[in-house]
């Protein structure tokens, strides 16, 4: 069946890899990959533009989830939501960045496992509440927190939201991924109970929690070590 498979579209992947390796502007890399992939699949310019345009309109529901909450979040930030989150966490003496994020990881993963994926998210939870609280908890202990540590804590807050969501939602029976897997397996003539797929996701979900929680635990030690070194200098 060699002759039936067109390997040229793989050039599109090469453009992506090369583009990111050369640190070109991501949007330009994507457009270049679109052009190369289209031409490799022997589309002409008008056909390629039509395919891109139809896809662009079809996928325009994606940015809604990011953009619609911004007006409310922006307004609340203007009136001190971040400052309030930081002040609240400073009052809890035992709170550290790592412990706070472990609690958030648990809440995010468990709620996603029950299908409640809308608790959390980067625009409406991480930016206004979780990241400022994680940063605030470190700042209470080390008022001279460095920018490098600040960025690391913020990136870890975003990562925690992702890990919790990804490895929680797949344990929920009615989740899209489970439906997708069932449909594809059925197409191949294999009948699988969605409940079994959801249950067999649990070992990985637990492993993911342990691995990421351990990293969050280590983050506290990392912050302490970095700030100690800073004091000596």
């Amino acid at each position: 069946m060699n002759h039936t498979v067109n390997l040229w579209p793989l050039l599109g992947v090469a453009v992506i890899v090369l583009g990111f390796a050369l640190r070109a502007h991501p949007v330009l890399v994507v457009i270049a990959a679109c052009a190369v992939t289209g031409f490799a699949a022997s589309m002409d310019v008008a056909h390629l533009l039509a395919v891109l345009g139809a896809a662009f309109i079809k996928t325009r529901n994606l940015p809604l989830i990011l953009l619609l909450p911004l007006a409310a979040i922006g307004l609340l930030e203007r009136y001190g939501l971040k400052e309030h989150a930081q002040a609240s966490i400073a009052r809890i003496k035992s709170a550290t960045t790592g412990r706070l994020l472990i609690v958030y990881l648990a809440i995010r993963e468990i709620s996603a496992a029950f299908g409640l994926t809308s608790i959390g998210g980067h625009p409406n939870m991480v930016r206004p509440l979780i990241a400022p609280m994680a940063e605030g908890a470190a700042e209470t202990r080390y008022p001279a927190l460095t920018d490098a540590l600040r960025y690391r804590i913020r990136a870890m807050s975003a990562a925690t939201d992702n890990v919790g969501l990804f490895f929680g939602e797949d344990v929920f029976v009615a989740f899209g991924a489970i439906v997708l897997m069932q449909t594809i397996l059925r197409g191949e003539g294999i009948e699988v109970d969605p409940l079994h797929m959801a249950l067999w996701g649990i070992p990985t979900a637990v492993t993911a929690f342990i691995i990421h929680a351990w990293r969050l635990h280590r983050l506290d030690a990392h912050i302490a070590r970095a700030m100690m070194k800073g004091d000596q200098v």
Binding site: Y79, P123, A159
Partner: protein, 318 residues
Amino acid sequence: MILKLDFFYLVLGAMLLIIAVMALRDPHNPKRYSSALFWALYAMVYLAGDWLSPVAAGALMVVMALIAGFGGVTLGRYSERSPDQRRDSAQRLGHKLLIPALIIPVTTMIGSTLLKDVNFDGLFLLDPKNTTLVSLGCGSLFAVATACWLTRATPLQAMRESRRLVDHLGWAVVLPHMLAVLGLLFTEAGMGKAVAHVVTSYINMDVKLVAVAVYCVGMALFTIIMGNGFAAFPVIAGGVGIPVLVGVYHANPAIMAAIGMFSAYCGTLMTPMAANFNIVPAALLELPDKNAVVKIQVATALPILLANIALLYFLLNM
């Protein structure tokens, strides 16, 4: 249905158009004309998406990408309040500030679970195909209204604040959207077949551990390329999972599928192509390195991927 997704397309379109006008009138934005054009074009996608011909929409996308790619979308000036002013109002408003922030997830949850089947003689309250997005849209509008009421700010101020956030995101706003387009194009061009062909013809899978590893790593790698585990699953399950793991090694398909999808998610954590999970948060959190989130996630994703290979190897025939 009473509340359609189209309504929120118009809301977002209007919001982007206002942002374009504000950018045009901001003399502190060094590239206000190209910035305004960029946001106005994006507004067209939402306001006129149903009337644009596919070729016109494609050309529009390319123009937007070129404006963004050559640095034509820049920051303006935003009359922000001082940290002291913010601390004062934080103290005055206290926990009340959390109410509007929590309205968004709570409304989304209620809408997508309790209200999803509500209908009047077959006329659904919420668009049945898009309950989550429509509920999120309603939640966002309730949240703005509550936030305005609580802070005595005007809706215009809310628009200025969304412009501040959208401008800080800049091109990161459209990257996930354009990547989704690339993903669809990859599918159309037969990328899946090409990858499955390469994987299955050049790797010897006579050893069970190798086959399991190829399956899990293949899921992750293909997700890294496509930026989406849903695109990787059909390809790798169809190319390796079903013929080799189930066909040759008699794997339990439920285990093969579940752990395969999680291996794909490990890939999602490691790729800038999954922009809305990895690049957008870096922009939202104002990190100087746009890949900071991907970099920090690698150390979580790789151990989970290894654990997946081990789990699948030992659980394969359960």
